[in-house]
């Protein structure tokens, strides 16, 4: 049987969590199949005839002699029907929308209010806080110029985002306050609204700044890695002491006092040292948090804590374990969010957003303490990616256009990848740092992303089936084991 490779790439079939799953890449359709239909997908593709061809019936019975021809015919008709509905083997119709991937208003900014830090995290991509450019705090004047820049470059966008980042932003908290107050003062005259976020290691949290953060910041990202011994190993103070016991009560207080309608995340990093990171996720839950993100370290493979392709089997197995633990948690009525497994199969961002990805260098920029403009926080300090400077009034529109064009159809590894509408071509900074080109997807990140997506989709499938199984006992047959 000669199958067209393009149709094979239009679906992704896999087994996980006791289910046979297939994602129709281009429509976003997700289906759970019985074993026979799952096997049949290896032998069929459009165009479909009115009945299943004899050679396919024969191939299926060779694979499994217990498959009856009449049953295979039924499965064939169901696949044919899904194709007719354009939710299986559907075609990629989105490349025409890539024309929208042009230079856009700037709507989001990462403001590096402090290139200094009071921790010495081993895996810090910011070289323990200063991005390799020397420890420095942003002046209030530069912060206000950044606000003016965002207001000017945002054109008709009304909702603007600004993340206070570092280093450790609370080392320059007076400037944070001044910049927030200045931005708020300009909202009315400009008809715009700022959504502020702050990413903090928590060391300097106190009653005053906690109250300010909970009042002004629509999201707060609290850096903590999970178990105390894991956290303290990677996130020591400059004199080598652990930071866990200092920050945990401060984070708990901030979250306890926070309006439940506002976002927050405790956000950790896992490394080769804790490939059993599901224990860290649950450690954070046990500590009292319910919005949790624990992410793989991204670093040069020369470091002992770095994740490498050799770690993929262990990390993949741990993601599967985490998915099962989260399902068990749900069944026990103790739900919490794990950021990378969040997926809404019926909504989520539009296809056009999914083509363009994070928008770095185009809709999103980072500003260094010196007022230098970079495509995003991960490019800060890379001289060849400096886009301009606030004092000089420069902004490299040619580079902006280059980043605008970094959509999935310009990334050769992504064009045919089943995950392309979920990761949108990956992190351009990682692509550049580890593959040498913003358009060449970082292989290790891709594999991790794909495993997370498989788990996220499986979790949704299990939940939906378990909800429906209360009224439809036939659904038990969809288990492959």
């Amino acid at each position: 049987m000669n199958l067209n490779e393009n149709f094979n790439k239009s679906i992704h079939k896999y087994q996980l969590g006791g289910l046979n799953l297939v994602l129709d890449v281009n429509s976003g359709g997700v289906h759970v199949l019985d074993s026979m239909t799952y096997d049949l997908l290896d032998f069929v593709q459009p165009p479909f005839s009115e009945t299943c061809p004899d050679e396919i019936l024969h191939a299926m019975q060779t694979k499994n002699p217990e498959y009856a021809k009449s049953d295979i015919q039924e499965c064939y008709q169901e696949i044919r029907e899904l194709h007719a509905k354009k939710i299986l083997f559907s075609e990629d119709e989105y490349e025409k929308f890539a024309k929208f991937a042009t230079s856009s208003p700037v709507k989001a900014m990462c403001l590096h209010i402090s290139h200094d830090c009071n921790l010495r995290c081993q895996y810090c991509f910011a070289s323990t806080g200063d991005f390799g450019t020397g420890r420095k705090l942003m002046s209030v004047e530069t912060g206000k110029k950044a606000i003016d820049f965002l207001l000017e470059k945002s054109a008709d966008r009304q909702q603007l985002e600004l993340d206070f980042f570092g280093g450790e932003p609370l080392m320059n908290f007076d400037a944070v306050k001044e910049v927030v107050l200045y931005a708020r003062s300009r909202e009315k005259e400009t008809g715009k609204h700022f959504r502020f976020t702050i990413t903090t290691n928590g060391m300097l949290l106190n009653d005053e700044n906690t109250d300010f953060i909970n009042r002004e910041m629509s999201n707060v990202v609290l850096s903590i890695d999970g178990r105390k011994e894991i956290h303290d190993r990677m996130r020591p103070t400059p004199n080598g002491k652990g930071s866990y016991d200092v920050i945990l009560p401060k984070f708990k207080k901030l979250v306890d006092q926070r309006d439940k309608n506002l976002d927050y995340y405790v956000r950790g990093t896992f490394t080769k040292y804790n490939l059993d990171f599901s224990d860290d996720v649950f450690s954070l839950y046990d500590a009292g948090f319910d919005q949790i993100s624990v992410e793989p370290v991204v670093s040069d493979s020369k470091y002992p804590y770095a994740l490498t392709e050799a770690d993929l089997p262990a990390v993949s197995a741990e993601y599967e374990k985490l998915a099962q633990r989260l399902l068990a948690q749900d069944r026990a009525g103790k739900h919490f969010n794990f950021f990378h497994f969040m997926i809404d199969l019926n909504a989520g961002p539009c296809a056009i957003k999914r083509l363009k990805g994070c928008g770095c260098g185009n809709e999103y920029v980072a500003i260094s303490p010196e007022g230098d403009i970079y495509p995003c926080h991960q490019f800060v300090g890379m001289e060849n990616f400096k886009m301009g400077n606030l004092d000089e009034g420069t902004f490299n529109l040619e580079m902006k256009e280059t980043f605008a064009q970094s959509h999935i159809y310009n990334k050769y590894k992504c064009r045919d990848c089943w995950a392309r509408f979920y990761c949108s071509g990956g992190c351009n900074a990682n692509n550049y740092q580890y593959q040498g080109d913003i358009l060449e997807a970082h292989t290790l990140s891709c594999e991790l992303e794909k495993k997370r997506l498989e788990c996220a989709i499986m979790i949704q499938a299990v939940k939906l089936l378990e909800n429906r199984a209360d009224t439809d006992t036939d659904l038990k047959s969809y288990k492959h084991c």
Binding site: N26, S27, G28, G29, V30, H31, V32, L33, C75, E78, K86, S90, S104, A108, C110, F125, Q158, Q159, E161, T197, N219, Y265, R267, T269, S293, E295, P296, V298, F339, H340, M342, L345, N346, G348, P349, C350, A351, I352, K353, R354, G357, C358, C360, E363, Y364, Q378, F421, Y422, C423, S424, G426, N430, S445, L448, E449, R452, L453, A456, R468, D474
Partner: protein, 48 residues
């Protein structure tokens, strides 16, 4: 259907026709900062 359960509305094509307004959050502003995930973002268009 007897052999297949479809779990969702599979509306990516429709979303493209009405999408692209740019009102949604920049994905790196949420929680990740290191590993790009776009599909877990919310659509913020008021009228879809």
């Amino acid at each position: 259907m007897k052999h297949v359960v479809t779990l969702n509305q599979a509306n990516l094509v429709e979303s493209a026709k009405k999408g692209g307004c740019g009102k949604c959050q920049a994905s790196c502003q949420s929680a990740c900062k290191t590993s790009c995930t776009v599909a877990n973002q919310k659509c913020e268009k008021e009228e879809k």
